[in-house]
Symmetry: C2
Subunit: 165 residues, 2 copies
DNA sequence: CCTTAACTTCACAAATTTCTGAAACAAGCG
DNA sequence: CGCTTGTTTCAGAAATTTGTGAAGTTAAGG
């Protein structure tokens, strides 16, 4: 017998990946529900799902989906789409967009750098502690700049590998 | 009046930096106590502190310090030193060692890659979802390799800037 | 060896986070 | 306009995380 269209795939396999990958993300610091929603989108064929589909597949309430999606949208890991002429919303991983969000983490690095700058100032640039903070700061500033270039090279590499492949 | 030797520095300023920077680390996903211990070490002049000093400065129990240090040692952000002929242990940030730990995050990336590989297999390399996972996996593999080179360039850059400076 | 200082482990209490159901809110459609 | 469907907000219950005190372990020093 044929499976229903949305579940043409082995939903056992999908779930195993979703939960496993989400667990890894959680261990790295992401909120549990956000991780699960993200993994589910990543593992969907279209790369987009509605709130109802997510709630159904993950067995959670609309409220939980709402909260997770708000977070994911804030950090640019998914985008929201309004299907024209419907109150239904779709959440999508943009395949190239999302890992840019993971690496660039601009906001995080910037705040770290700001803290370190203040530390260097208040502890004194000449003190051993001040020098250690300054070196750390220099590292993050270096990292910032390098990541931009790294992402540029990745896009090129990706286009060669996937674009024409 | 002169301050006691260990607190020759403005302990108000130290604490402000420690708590502020730790908060940023927490927001990025690190455990609270580990973040505070790490920040305290970073802001110390010698780059090393004993368990007692840490507990005293952060106003927490030995147990809390123990837990935090175990974690930090596991992820190579501090190393433990046994002062010879004493049961006192010192915890140290190696100034160059620690941010290597932050970037390389080898363990994390490796586990992500493993999850993704399994996902590609079980969802099918030919399916749209499988292709998305494969592209994501390729990205992390690329990142792995690039980070190694990036760190090599940083060390060079650092030696030029701080080594002879 | 026995004492004692230092660290670790463990069970539990406190604080925080996470998810839910219910109610409020929005927006298409008749 | 009001009905209906879909999303968000909110207060609280449940689960998880975090830090403590106390007991346990290890090893230096008499």
């Amino acid at each position: 017998m044929t499976e229903p269209s949305t579940a043409g795939r082995d939903s056992r396999a999908v779930s195993k990946f979703v939960e496993g990958f989400a667990a890894q993300l959680v261990e790295a610091g992401m909120q549990r529900m956000a991780a699960r929603v993200f993994a589910a989108l990543l593992a969907s064929d279209s790369g987009a799902m509605t709130s109802a589909e997510l709630g159904d597949q993950l067995r959670v309430s609309p409220a939980a989906v709402s909260g997770a999606v708000r977070y994911l949208a804030q950090v640019h890991m998914v985008s929201r789409e309004r299907e024209p002429g419907s109150r239904r919303e779709r959440y999508r991983v943009h395949s190239d967009q999302w890992y840019e969000a993971v690496t660039s983490r601009d906001a995080v690095l910037t705040r770290w750098e700001q803290s370190l700058r203040e530390g260097v100032d208040s502890l004194g640039a000449g003190t051993p502690a001040g020098e250690r903070l300054a070196e750390t700061l220099a590292f993050f500033e270096y990292l910032d700049g390098e990541l931009v270039q790294l992402m540029a090279r990745w896009r090129e590499h990706r286009d060669r590998t996937f674009g024409k492949g």
